[in-house]
């Protein structure tokens, strides 16, 4: 029985950290909230360590919760992303009058949900993880309470999210009806049988819709620009990276691995979604006037790229997916961190014009931002290039050359708007004042870390590639 709990340890540890922060918050005076940051970071580090320490532990609760290499891979991603989000929030949250304690607690709790999603081998468990994460993020989006856009963002996210929950659940219900279980192993066993194929596939498609919503695949993407735009920037970063990563974790484990036999049913649909998603994301990003909103469209486009890996499938596709998730996390978090650095007291410095002349006022931020933009555009030898090379390679290898061509064409379009940011920073005068290193050391740490990661994953990707492969191989 004791072994049952080992697989649960990372999530449990994260929960404990959240509760500690929650309680600490009650006892710390307003000007000493720094301790909350450190406690949260310590909690995240501990979770990551626990996950690594017990990697490969026996599955818990009748194998509904697994701590295989795959889960550990994603737990590490979530822990690092949550830590970076917290780092970039410190200054931001104080200036916006967001309640720090609750903010960090909710980030930790949503990470608990994500960990469950990555480890769950049961649809109901996955669903509860998903909801834990989602509800926490709905609230996070609305936490800048003096700003109407923030409330509106939370509202939109919540309405569409709850709507999608209905579809997702309905899908689980149909699958349950067709196979008699929500346990992914049981379902996989039942996949062979011919009976009730229609019902089962209908359920699979509804689950697919629910996940497509979470990763912002077109046409379920409409909420993204509005919600990302209105939410506090660190929360946007968290949504764009961690939430998407968690959804893709589910997608990889459930669809790529457990429902492999159903590939022929859902691949054409996902392929169509992928093409639509990247094209829409890239084309609509071109005429944006706000960098934050542009990044929102860019994250839609990247969801499309990532879906290429789902279509490609197999070990190569899954590996490309995992590697790209990590690369995408580094560059997107960094870009949002720089946007967060431009925030003045009560306004977001997120317009293109606000970036003007940043290259001369804050050379470090500008150089980091250039790296992120170039990497997002798929420029070698940065993370985004290596990742895209692997994605397209997987697509070509799987016989989806058309997808690779469309993907490359799309990344050509994307240069338009990523380059514009660099242009503004180095070839325009004016703009707003950005936070200085002294004023926001945590934020600078986040920018520095992500910049290094973006370069590192580009020039030394081998470690991460093997880690991805190991994670995939551990799925069974």
């Amino acid at each position: 029985m004791a072994a049952d709990y080992v697989a649960l340890l990372p999530a449990a540890q994260m929960l404990v950290a959240a509760i500690v922060v929650l309680v600490l918050d009650l006892f710390t005076p307003a000007d000493e909230k720094g301790v909350l940051v450190w406690t949260s970071l310590a909690g995240l580090a501990l979770s990551a360590w626990v996950a690594l320490r017990f990697r490969g532990a026996e599955g818990a609760f009748g194998n509904t919760l697994l701590l295989d290499g795959f889960a550990v891979f994603f737990i590490l991603v979530f822990a690092v992303v949550a830590a970076l989000t917290i780092l970039m929030s410190v200054q931001y949250v104080r200036e916006s009058g967001i309640r720090e304690g609750e903010f960090y607690v909710l980030i930790l709790l949503s990470a608990v949900g994500m960990i469950i999603m990555a480890s769950a081998n049961d649809l109901i468990l996955f669903f509860i993880g998903l909801e834990t994460m989602s509800i926490a993020v709905y609230v996070l989006a609305g936490m800048w309470r003096s700003r109407a856009e923030s409330a509106e963002s939370a509202m939109k996210y919540f309405l569409i999210g709850a709507f999608a929950t209905g579809f997702f659940l309905y899908g689980i219900a149909l699958i349950y009806g067709a196979t008699g279980s929500t346990h992914l192993d049981r379902i996989a066993e039942a996949l062979g049988g011919p009976q009730a194929a229609l019902l089962l596939t209908a359920g699979v498609f509804l689950v697919l819709v629910g996940l497509a919503f979470k990763v912002a695949a077109a046409p379920f993407h409409f909420w993204v620009p509005d919600v990302y735009d209105g939410a506090p920037t660190p929360v946007t970063a968290f949504m764009a990276v961690a939430v998407k990563a968690a959804a893709f974790a589910g997608w990889a484990r459930i669809f790529l691995h457990q429902w492999e036999p159903l590939r022929d049913e859902w691949t054409p649909a996902v392929k169509a979604l992928a093409i639509l998603t990247m094209t829409l994301g890239n084309v609509l990003a071109v005429t944006q006037s706000s960098v934050k909103r542009m990044l929102a469209y860019s994250s839609i486009a990247h969801a499309g790229y990532l879906m290429i890996a789902l279509v490609a499938g197999g070990e190569v596709g899954a590996q490309a997916l995992l590697f790209y998730v990590v690369s995408y996390a580094a560059m997107t978090l960094g870009a949002f961190a720089v946007v967060a650095a431009l925030k003045a007291d009560d306004r977001e410095g997120a317009a293109y014009a606000d970036f003007a002349g940043l290259g001369y006022r804050k050379p470090f931020l500008a150089m980091a931002m250039s790296l992120f933009m170039l990497s997002l555009a798929g420029f070698p030898p940065l993370a985004g290039f290596t990742g895209k090379f692997y994605l397209f390679r997987a697509a070509v290898a799987a016989g989806h050359t058309d997808l690779a061509v469309i993907g490359v064409l799309n990344s050509l379009v994307s240069v338009f708007y990523y380059l514009r940011v660099i242009l503004m920073m180095y070839m325009q005068e004016g703009g707003v004042e950005a936070k200085s290193f002294r004023g926001a050391p945590y934020l600078y740490a986040a920018v520095g870390f992500t910049a290094v990661a973006t370069v590192y994953l580009g020039i030394l990707p081998t470690g991460a590639l093997y880690a991805s492969l190991g994670a995939i191989a551990s799925l069974r």
Binding site: L15, F61, L106, S110, G129, E131, G142, R145, A196, L199
Partner: protein, 159 residues
């Protein structure tokens, strides 16, 4: 059979009222009625425990909460009903309805399984809840914790 049709009719009637009533309070009342009828439907499916929970949790707690917010915000305006949009939305929903109905109307299990008398009672649910579903049960409490913190963080008075 007859019971089912009566209950089904009532469910659909009330749920349509939820969607069509222009006054939000009327809608809420219709929803309460729908939930109540559904609780009875649950009973016909040998789920007495859930029937009771349905009334307690939904028709009780959630409905009260909704009404509370309605009172608090007191939005007096009666909403408009733009025909085109209603038509479009209803058509979409109808299309979805047809598709779903077409997909589910021939399930694998058709014959009713034999079940023990205690099926759906508190013991059997508790039995399952605390063994096979102990983990989701525990996590559900995390979910509620999130909801509480979230609601407090959003609705609390500004510092």
């Amino acid at each position: 059979m007859i019971v089912f049709f009566i209950l089904a009719f009532l469910t659909l009637l009330f749920s349509l009222l939820v969607v069509t009533q222009r006054n939000v309070v009327h809608s809420a009342m219709a929803l309460a009625a729908t939930l109540f009828v559904m609780a009875v439907l649950f009973l016909t499916l040998d789920a007495p425990m859930l029937g009771v929970l349905q009334i307690l949790v939904y028709a009780g707690a959630i409905m009260i909460l909704i009404l509370f917010v309605i009172m608090l915000l007191n939005p007096l305006s009666i909403e408009a009903r733009p025909a085109a949009w209603w038509m479009l939305g209803s058509l979409g929903a109808a299309a979805l309805c047809l598709q779903l109905a077409a997909l589910v109307h021939r399930p694998a299990v058709s014959a009713e399984a034999a079940v023990p008398a205690s099926f759906g009672g508190p013991e059997s649910i508790a039995q399952s809840l605390f063994t096979d579903f102990a983990l989701p049960f525990g996590l559900a409490s995390v979910l509620l914790l999130v909801a509480i913190i979230g609601a407090v963080a959003l609705a609390q008075r500004q510092r």
